[in-house]
């Protein structure tokens, strides 16, 4: 990455998804929707979509992505502030509504920073350039004699003027077509530790999450949905529900057959959440369960396991695996089984909607405000400009809140009730009616030659695909779900990847780190087994398997770099004191994964004493290129360790007769304080392009734990969760 770039306005405009240069000015005036329009005299200078400087010097920066613990309301605006040479203490954040004018707002796939880093820099640099021009004009001096520093423009003579005092002139200036970005050496906020700009609100209870949104005369609604996915009701009796104090009405919600459409059901509308829940429980409903009633996840696991024990659809075939197996000195084979998972964000799905005639306003904790808007537009059949989607704080998302089925429900209830309504999912609703992380069976087979070199590698897997949510009936993994099995960074001359059939009988969706969970698990555990078969140290063996430094083509714009991969692994091992003697019953295990274009390795120290697993330490090293906020990256790695641990120890969603068997944190358990390990994080210094952070810390944890347990006990576990083995 060069330190200074000149960027023309044309490319800068295109990079935020707008059609042409002329739109910038149009955007200046449309930044606020009518309803939220700030007084004219307050908002004086809008050089572009994301920056509003007022004449009192206060600076409003727009966060176009959703805040769900990812720190994005701090990190993205801090990039603008840095380039603009603004004083961070003068900044406040305005959350964008769902609108295409902001470009892609989908807060998913660990891509907020990697998509918007350069755009945000350009936004800030543009504002700075205009303020410098304004000062130069005022002082009648050449612009290149002026610099910006901490909310002032300073002339070489020493005179200075505040940003706010330049607003009147700046707003009359043309937006520059070229701007110069800062030398990264001079960054003030980027790459440092900035606290969350919202931290006070979180600790004093004033942060407004979706669940906290209140409107005058707002009603609360809870919905009874069929226990079996896509089932419908035949008939129902609402008389008992209507007797409950606070219950106002009972109404039908249609099923909307779209990927993010409402599941449909019976809504109980009440004056408070409790009455709505009680009323919902009092409904007597006769369900038509439909064809997914046969879903039995234990039986299903047997079927997909059988499917990986026979040849599947070949998706990669390099060299000659069969020949390698025939000439092997040793063969290792394993089968891995991983269950469905639920996101279970701390804040349940919920949304407030207010349909008023032909218009609708929504307040929702959503990762995808534009998709939410689209669903509402489709449902109501009104023009897009009639629908406003406000994004609240999200009490966690993890992928669940990128599927706005709950938003459409709120709109449906509000329309019928003719007033503002908050639809609240109970925790049971959340766990029983999600978009589940896929269930998977995997079979792996590899050969070693007499020098313990891996000569052949076969990876077969079967899992219901996320594509099934968008194309009902899809029953083989999609190309992108195969990539993390077929593009592994090992030097393998003979390699085959095969996909088995796996129809989806519940809604399948993406969950934090997605396909890297099953593939990261099987590949990292299997590589450890091969090291063991070779009688070699897992670290040395793995470094050998990755092989020499090279760039590998992944069919993505960013190629992955095995040197960076080995680097994070070596650093994690060093931080964990790999190879040192540990107390009796303790063991270290490692895993390394390239995902979301980032490199992450974790070494985990566990003990198993009296058949009880304790995770003591997690040493994670991440190389995510340029870091915007070190504290956020560190926090994400700390959180990922706990998220990974929860799924390793407890994560298991099962279905019987088509219905999900778990229903709350009591039977879908989470790691708690007393089990939490010490998490040690190292962030690799890098000037490469920024890459993903929110997800790539997750997939290494479960395999590193399993490998550490093997080291501690000699027992090898191939399936999750570990609670099924009685060691948790």
């Amino acid at each position: 990455m060069s330190s200074i770039k000149n960027i023309s306005r044309r490319s800068f405009v295109r990079s935020i998804g707008l059609a042409s240069g002329g739109l910038i000015l149009a955007c200046n005036t449309s930044i606020f929707t009518d309803k939220e329009k700030a007084p004219e005299n307050l908002i004086d200078f809008n050089p572009n979509l994301f920056v509003q400087l007022n004449s009192d010097g206060s600076l409003i920066l727009v966060a176009s992505r959703s805040e769900m613990g990812n720190g994005v309301r701090t990190s993205l605006p801090s990039i603008i502030a840095d380039e603009m040479e603004a004083d961070w203490s003068r900044v406040s954040i305005k959350q964008a509504t769902g609108d295409k004018k902001y470009g892609d707002q989908n807060t998913d796939g660990s891509r907020s920073i990697r998509y918007l880093y350069t755009t945000m820099r350009q936004m800030g640099a543009t504002a700075k350039a205009m303020l410098i021009s304004a000062a130069a004009q005022k002082w009648e001096v050449p612009a290149d004699e002026c610099i910006a520093e901490k909310h002032f423009i300073i002339h070489s003579s020493g005179k200075k003027i505040s940003f706010g005092d330049l607003v009147e002139i700046a707003k009359t200036l043309e937006i520059p077509t070229e701007v110069t970005l800062k030398d990264p050496e001079k960054f003030k906020y980027i790459g440092k530790h900035l606290k969350s700009i919202d931290v006070e609100k979180y600790v004093n209870g004033s942060a407004i999450f979706g669940l906290d949104k209140r409107l005058p005369n707002m009603k609360f609604a809870a919905i009874a949905r069929c226990p079996v996915t896509f089932g419908t009701f035949k008939s129902y009796d609402k008389s008992e529900a209507l007797k409950i104090a606070g219950v106002i009405d009972v109404i039908e919600i249609p099923r909307i057959e779209r990927p993010f459409g409402a599941l449909g059901g019976i809504a109980v509308v009440a004056t408070n959440t409790w009455a709505a829940f009680k009323g919902r429980d009092a409904l007597k409903i006769d369900w038509d369960y439909g064809s997914n009633k046969s879903y039995d996840s234990a039986e299903y696991m047997k079927q997909i396991t059988a499917n990986v024990h026979k040849p599947g659809k070949v998706s990669k075939d390099k060299g000659n695996v069969n020949k390698a197996f025939k000439n092997a000195k040793k063969i290792v084979e394993s089968t891995f089984q991983l269950p469905h998972l639920s996101h279970a964000p701390m804040e349940v799905p919920n949304a407030v909607a207010w349909v008023q005639g032909e218009t609708c306003e929504v307040w929702a904790p959503t990762q995808q405000p534009q998709a939410s808007r689209k669903e509402v537009v489709e449902y109501l059949g009104v023009p897009e400009e009639n629908v406003t989607v406000n994004v609240t704080f999200l009490g966690g998302g993890f992928g669940r809140k990128s599927k706005p089925d709950y938003v459409v429900e709120a709109v449906a209830v509000s329309r019928t009730m003719n007033g503002p309504v908050q639809v609240v999912w109970s925790r049971e609703d959340d766990i029983k009616h999600g978009y589940y992380h896929t269930v998977s069976a995997q079979y792996m087979k590899a050969s070693l030659d007499k020098n313990n070199k891996v000569t052949g590698w076969l990876h077969r897997f079967a899992l219901p695909t996320i594509t099934s949510t968008f194309s009902p009936g899809a029953d083989y993994a999609a190309g992108w779900e195969i990539g993390s099995a077929s593009n592994i960074p090992f030097t393998l001359e003979n390699m085959k990847v095969e996909v088995g059939q796996a129809p989806a009988l519940i809604r399948i969706g993406w969950l934090r780190s997605v396909i890297n969970i099953p593939h990261g698990f099987s590949v990292n555990v299997f590589a450890d087994e091969l090291a063991n078969a070779a009688n070699e140290d897992p670290l040395e063996f793995r470094l050998k398997l990755i092989g020499e430094d090279r760039l590998e083509d992944t069919k993505n714009p960013i190629k992955y770099d095995t040197a960076r991969l080995k680097n994070v692994l070596k650093k994690a091992a060093k931080n964990a004191n790999w190879g040192a003697n540990l107390p009796e019953g303790h063991g270290l295990g490692l895993a390394v994964q390239y995902s979301f274009f980032s490199y992450v390795a974790s070494v985990v120290e566990v003990s198993v004493i009296n058949n009880k697993l304790t995770v003591h330490n997690v040493y994670t090293v991440i190389d995510c290129g340029t870091v915007i906020n070190k504290d956020t990256v560190k926090a994400q790695m700390e959180g990922s360790a706990i998220f990974g641990m929860s799924l390793a120890m407890y994560g298991k969603i099962t279905a019987k007769d088509g219905a999900i068997e778990q229903g709350n944190y009591s039977d879908y358990q989470m790691t708690r304080m007393h089990q939490a390990p010490k998490v040690h994080v190292e962030i690799v210094d890098s000037i490469e392009n920024p890459t993903g952070v929110g997800e790539p810390g997750v997939p290494v944890i479960a395999p590193a734990i399993v490998n550490a347990i093997y080291k501690a006990t000699g027992k090898r576990y191939h399936n999750l969760p570990l609670s099924d083995y009685g060691i948790v």
């Binding site: 805040e67 349940v348 959180g639």
Partner: protein, 152 residues
Amino acid sequence: MITLQINGEKHTIDADPTMPLLWAIRDIVGLTGTKYGCGEGVCGSCKVLLDNSPVQSCVIPVSAAKGKNITTVEGENKNLQLLQESWVELNVPQCGFCQPGQLIAATALLDKNEKPTDKDIDEAMIGNICRCGTYQRIKNAIHRTVELKNQN
């Protein structure tokens, strides 16, 4: 009609006496800092102090709070305010949703234990889930609060 004393203020509300205190606080009184996470007493998001004891307000009927002092995360309590400062200093929250409950649990701990050990903290905080995984920072922030108190 039930009168609740929340953060030093009296609220007379019309609520079914079996309604969990949580929903009376959130939906009737309108203080939304106290959160709903599970509704069955297992996550701690809804914790409030009831006469200085931490309780899961989602499983306590509103009638049981009659005549007692209720403190929520919006309320005043010396340890709560000190903890909030440490929470900010260590940038504890991620999504922030569980933090009101965590802070209330930590307040109750410091109210009765001036210098908790790691084990004391584990025991006091075992009922509070953080899905974002901020446990390490929570623990550090509790220790930090104690450290600052002892300095002054």
